[in-house]
């Protein structure tokens, strides 16, 4: 087994017993990147020098027998919308192509504090707006299981880098499914924590009331390990919640006896791919066979999710992205007048999907339309939260598909925004309600493409999600094996 194939927990053990050095592990990952990156395209920016220096430091710390951080020597990638001091943070956009933040996001600080190694910045849909990562200005990442297929989005680079064995884990962000969906399509674990569980300070905002940072890992234990590092209240983020965090690994018992598993009817209707349904039903069956109790529940307002989401998210985005005006930083096109400079800088700096959403959002907030659109959508949000609260009366978690289909071919719907928006239907409600959700691998399609299973729970019940996901993982015993990529595959 090569070092890059290890999970984080396996690697930490090997590092602790000195069977492996951080330098060996990091170099192994860098080599893997060299071999696979052309085919996968997971990264916007690579920082091999920084990674080597951090590995040296990690080994030095271990050698000195100092108390080392929880991620000491673990190579990770970061979605390219998490600010990294001194390292370009582009958000997959031309408008920030040369932007170098003067500060680290809170989660990046935490990773560094725990001696984690940041190998590079992962590709993503421009400003996280997309479900395929095809709107990334520097080129889209591809699915490591079949590089003609999308890796999903918007955290596509994060998911692809982890699934391809380029890094052991990654941090992404999830506004409407952007962690869970690519995790599902790439066959890894992706957790979207409760809104407020993880600080958003330094996360370049798409839709502030929906955005949440979370881990993408090869197994459930690693997800818990990363959650232990990134969770917690942050004075710099007023929306982060001041509730105690826990050691999430303590939930990994495999014991789901008496757990009430809700199966939301609405998630299994419509255009659900039969292979996807079969995989999810299989996982539900596994939980039941381990003593969980399965109940059918209904979330009647789920149909309005797409409409509400595609008003709220673009509305907030239209305001959040106003700062990219060419004045203080970012792309500027010189012009004869201020207005012309704004117009040209923004027209040339933003891609089509971003501009589309800015237009929708600007419209939704306009006076005369605000009540009919933004305000109404906010009310729908309350109804959706009520649906979930009603569901928690009869179940502890909800188990459902993540996406209606497995990954699709690159280019298939990128020019059809509406069908792309509809593909998010199963993940949006989690963000609208602010609850946590996780995607855990459930199996493969006939074409060999991964299919994930989504578990959602009440606010701040990440532990319960990890417990359920771990149980499915154990029962399935799909060993986290890496796909063959590029030349390997031929």
């Amino acid at each position: 087994m090569k070092p890059y194939e290890l999970t984080i927990s396996q690697a930490l053990e090997a590092l602790e017993t000195r069977d492996l050095s951080a330098m060996e592990l990091t170099k192994s990952c860098l080599e893997r990147i060299e071999q696979t990156e052309e085919a996968v395209g997971a990264f916007v920016t690579l920082d091999p020098e920084g990674a080597i220096a951090a590995a040296e430091e990690a080994d030095r710390l271990r050698a000195q027998n100092n108390t080392v951080g929880k991620l000491c020597g673990i190579p990770l990638s970061l979605k390219d919308l998490l600010c990294t001091k001194g390292v370009k943070t582009t958000c997959g956009s031309n408008i920030l192509a040369d932007f170098v933040p003067p500060y680290d996001a809170t989660v990046v600080e935490k990773i560094k504090l725990e001696n984690g190694i940041v190998v590079g910045k992962a590709a993503m849909d421009e400003f996280a707006m997309g479900s395929t990562s095809e709107t990334c200005a520097t080129g889209s990442p591809r699915n490591p299981w079949n590089t003609r297929y999308i890796a999903g989005g918007s955290s596509g680079g994060s998911a692809a880098s982890v699934a391809a064995g380029q890094v052991l884990g990654s941090l992404g962000s999830d506004t409407g499914g952007s962690i869970r969906q690519p995790a599902s399509l790439c066959g890894i674990v992706g957790m979207k924590p409760t809104y407020g569980r993880v600080s958003r300070y330094g996360l370049v905002a798409f839709a502030s009331s929906l955005d949440q940072i979370g881990p993408l890992t090869r197994d459930v234990r690693d997800s818990a390990l990363l959650m232990n590092v990134i969770s917690g209240y942050d004075v710099r983020d007023s929306t982060s919640v001041d509730t105690p965090t826990e050691d999430y690994t303590q939930n990994l018992t495999g014991d789901v006896k008496g757990l009430r598993v809700g199966v939301p009817l609405e998630y299994f209707s419509g255009g659900l791919d039969p292979e996807v349904e079969a995989v999810v039903r299989n996982s539900i069956g596994l939980l039941e066979s381990q003593g969980a109790e399965v109940v059918e529940v209904s979330l009647p307002h789920i149909d309005y999710c797409v409409a509400a989401y595609y008003l709220i998210a673009p509305a907030e985005a239209s305001s959040n992205l106003a700062r990219y005006d060419g004045v203080t930083y970012g792309y500027r096109k010189e012009a004869d007048s201020l207005l012309e400079m704004y117009r040209k800088s923004r027209s040339e700096g933003f891609g089509a999907e971003v501009k589309r959403r800015i237009l929708i959002g600007t419209y939704a907030l306009s006076s005369g339309y605000y009540d009919a659109y933004y305000k109404k959508a906010s009310q729908v949000r309350t109804l959706i939260l009520n649906d979930f609260n009603e569901a928690w009366k009869s179940c502890d978690v909800l188990v459902s598909p993540v996406t209606p289909t497995p990954a699709w071919k690159i280019g298939k719907i990128s020019d059809d925004p509406l069908s792309m928006y509809l593909s998010d239907i199963l993940t949006l409600s989690t963000n609208l309600a602010g609850i946590p959700g996780i995607s855990v691998p459930g199996g493969f399609s006939g074409d060999g493409l991964p299919i994930g299973v989504q578990i959602q729970g009440p606010h701040f019940e990440e532990g319960r999600l990890l417990k359920t996901a771990f149980s499915i993982e154990q029962a399935l015993a799909l060993k986290p094996s890496l796909p063959l990529i590029g030349k390997e595959a031929q």
Partner: protein, 474 residues
């Protein structure tokens, strides 16, 4: 036709917290450009605002001081528009849930008292500043001011004349200064005022078309601009023309209001609740704490000056207009215990010398003025000499004691010393002495004048009168 003027004022008061409203940067004025900045106030990607609790506390003080309703749950909203001094592309302000609503202040215009309603007050962040290059078509952006906390205070359209507007503005200014939450400097822009003004025929209920006046950076300018605008609108209406609803800039050089045309599009600010800030909740304890810590306010102080010092209402009103003036009065009065004299001196000599400047810049400290008056009262110097001493005090900032000593201005109250001079004056003016004896007593003034000349005004006037009467009637 008779017209009624309707004015509403919007005040932007910079709150003098040490740090900005949403970050830890200093609010100090006059630092080199862009040195008081950080990722938050620069609007860098990923940065988030954290509300400075002091700003809320200051707003609460103003709310309580004006008897307003405090919205116990209030919320920040984003006001979206593009301008280079606004790095986020929106101003974080408050919209449909402001912190304060429905207050009022009392004003007094030439003895007539009136209550002016306050519609609302809300917290918001200030924008930066643009510095335009005079030689090149180039502008520089200074973001030091970005994020300085502002309290916007919106009045009801209750003001019926420029004088009332001016009185209201001064009262708001005074309250802010008494609360010590705004330094009130109009030139530096820490206290700014815009006005909405319209005219309607007397008796008419519906409001006329209004104009908005900007760029009035002194109390005098506010009144002058409003007076000009009243005349302009009246002339238009009398000629049967329409007032155009627009924003006008006051030009203090020409004394006219000028149209801001071209800059003023109909803005749609697309307000929505700021998702980065949770609603502001004000607990009972917090509000009670603010209420308990409230200092004496201008109206209360005026009443105390009347009751405690026996000052006429006119004096008390002027002296309590500004906190500095009132503080000055009390500090001077405690030295000499002659409130009315202190008031007279302040309202004549002192205010004349200040020529509208701040009393804090005055070289004569209140203790010194009090000391001077105590010397007059004690007979150390004459009232006349006191005026000369005061002039020197204004020039040099020296204490009255020192000046009197150095210039040898002590009043001569030594009877034998004065008697000698009195006798020699009578001897030098035998004719006038004779006339006096024959009943032309008015000549006493002449003799005293001679004495004052010879003693350079230092002779004790009471004693001088007594001695001349005594010697001339011998």
């Amino acid at each position: 036709m008779e017209f009624e003027t309707v004015i509403g004022l919007e005040v932007h008061a910079q709150l003098k917290t040490d740090s900005k409203i949403f970050c830890g940067c200093s609010t100090e004025f006059g630092a080199p450009p862009n040195t008081h900045t950080c990722p938050v106030c620069l609007g860098l990607p990923g940065s988030l605002p954290v509300l400075n609790k002091r700003v809320v506390e200051f707003a609460l003080k103003m709310g309580v001081a004006t008897g307003s309703e405090i919205n116990r749950v209030n919320q920040f909203a984003r006001k979206n528009y593009f301008y280079p001094d606004l790095p986020k592309g929106y101003q974080t302000s408050q919209f449909d849930k402001p912190i304060i609503e429905h207050g009022s202040v009392a004003i007094d215009v030439e003895g007539e008292k009136k209550t002016i309603g306050i519609t609302r007050m809300h917290m918001e962040e200030d924008a930066g500043k643009l510095i335009h290059d005079e030689r090149e078509p180039l502008s520089y952006v200074d973001l030091n001011r970005t994020g300085t906390p502002l309290l916007e205070i919106v009045s009801e359209p209750d003001l019926r004349s420029p004088q009332e507007a001016s009185a209201y503005l001064k009262k708001i200014h005074a309250i802010l200064r008494y609360l010590d939450i705004c330094d009130g400097n109009m030139q530096e822009g820490s206290f700014r005022c815009d006005a909405n003004i319209s005219l309607r025929p007397v008796g008419e209920k519906t409001l006329g078309t209004r104009t908005e006046l900007k760029n009035m950076n002194s109390f005098r300018n506010v009144q002058a601009a409003l007076e000009y605008e009243v005349r302009r609108q009246r002339d238009l209406l009398l000629e049967g023309e329409d007032v155009v609803q627009e924003t006008l800039l006051w030009n203090p050089d020409t004394g006219k209001t000028e149209s801001m045309r071209g800059k003023e599009d109909a803005h749609d600010y697309r307000y929505f609740p700021c998702p980065d800030l949770v609603p502001v909740e004000i607990s009972d304890e917090w509000l009670e704490q603010v209420r308990a810590g409230l200092p004496e306010l201008p109206d209360q102080r005026r009443d105390r000056f009347i009751n405690e010092f026996g000052l006429p209402e006119y004096d008390a009103t002027i002296l309590t207009d500004s906190r500095e003036l009132a503080d000055y009065f009390e500090a001077a009065q405690v030295e000499c215990n002659q409130p009315k004299k202190v008031s007279n001196w302040m309202m004549t000599e002192l205010l004349r010398e200040l020529k509208g400047g701040s009393i804090e810049e005055c070289r004569v400290k209140p203790e010194q003025l009090g000391g001077l008056l105590a010397m007059v009262e004690g007979g150390t110097i004459s009232g006349k000499i006191a005026k000369t001493v005061f002039e020197t005090m204004l020039e040099t900032g020296q204490s009255p004691e020192l000046i009197v000593k150095e210039k040898n201005l002590l009043q001569v109250s030594d009877e034998s010393e004065l008697l000698e001079i009195v006798q020699s004056i009578i001897a030098d003016n035998p004719g006038q002495a004779e006339e006096f004896k024959n009943g032309k007593t008015k000549l006493l003034g002449y003799f005293v004048g001679q004495l004052m000349q010879r003693t350079k005004g230092k002779a004790n006037p009471k004693l001088a009168n007594k001695l001349f009467n005594q010697e001339l009637n011998k």
